[in-house]
């Protein structure tokens, strides 16, 4: 009888150990394990789906006979559900930032991170670059798109270096729109539609 109980406990522990390595980082598991014991083993499979750590902790304290049969089928469930829970968390930062040129322009005008003269100077340089694009598309300027890209990146770097300390949110937004803005500048049709 004692050997059977020990075997059941061992099996329970082993199933618990088998589940632990695939769980997320340690500290949350420890935190989750503490409040789990009062939860009855019958309700555990449903409630603790995303957190597989509690079952192993509850198994040793749980009633002997029903614990072993319940613990064995849990393994595949836990293993199968973990990948399902992970994608939504990883999917959040993926979304490409929508380009809103007007909003960016307005935010640049309103930011306190740079002074009035700096803003005016930046605007002068943006206008100069746009003029170069205009001349390039009209065949008046003999340059390459690669060279214009270099100038564009340089101006963007200047802008970001001016903003990153005083207005990191705006700097991030501009940096995030880098490719989207370039997609407009480097396309003759899209560029011609710019106001």
């Amino acid at each position: 009888m004692a050997a059977r109980i020990a075997g059941i406990l061992l099996a329970g522990l082993m199933t618990g150990c088998a589940g632990v390595p695939s769980t997320p980082p340690g500290p949350p598991v420890r935190e989750a394990a503490a409040p789990a014991p009062p939860v009855p083993p019958t309700s555990a499979p449903d409630k603790s789906e995303p957190k597989p750590a509690p079952p192993p902790a509850t198994v040793p304290a749980a009633p002997k006979a029903p614990a072993a049969p319940a613990a064995v089928p849990r393994k595949p469930e836990v293993a199968a559900r973990k990948p399902e829970a992970a994608p939504p968390v990883a999917a959040k930062p993926e979304g490409p930032p929508p380009l809103d040129l007007e909003s960016l322009e307005q935010r640049l005008k309103e930011t306190n991170a740079i002074g009035v003269l700096t803003k005016l100077s930046l605007k002068n340089q943006v206008d100069d670059l746009l003029e170069q694009f205009r001349d390039y598309y009209q065949g008046r300027l003999k340059t390459t798109l690669a060279e214009l890209r270099r100038l564009y990146e340089l101006l963007l770097m200047k802008t970001l270096s001016l903003l990153q300390d005083g207005d990191p949110t705006l700097a991030k937004a501009i940096h995030g729109s880098r490719e989207a803005i370039w997609a407009i500048l480097s396309d003759r049709d899209k560029f011609s539609k710019l106001p």
Partner: protein, 81 residues
């Protein structure tokens, strides 16, 4: 005669007022940023003088002096002094 002299004095004082040394850290930073945007050496603006509306004479840490002003076309111009 005395009246004219005092009037002249007042006019001269008014003319002198705009040209004065100022020390607003924000303005110094703004001037330093403008100079840097033109690709000119400066590092840090240690002091500046206001010569008029949007017209400054900035002195850099490295000893360079620049006149920074907005011209009639609305462009920021940086001239080495």
């Amino acid at each position: 005669m005395k009246r004219n002299a005092s009037r002249l004095l007042v006019i001269m004082m008014c003319a002198v007022i705009p040209v004065h040394a100022a020390d607003d850290p924000k303005q110094r930073k703004d001037l330093a940023a403008v100079i840097a945007l033109q690709g000119l050496p400066c590092g840090e603006v240690v002091r500046y003088e206001v010569k008029g509306d949007n017209d400054y004479l900035a002195t850099c840490k490295d000893g360079n002096r620049y006149r920074v002003f907005v011209n009639a076309e609305g462009r920021v111009v940086v001239q080495k002094q």
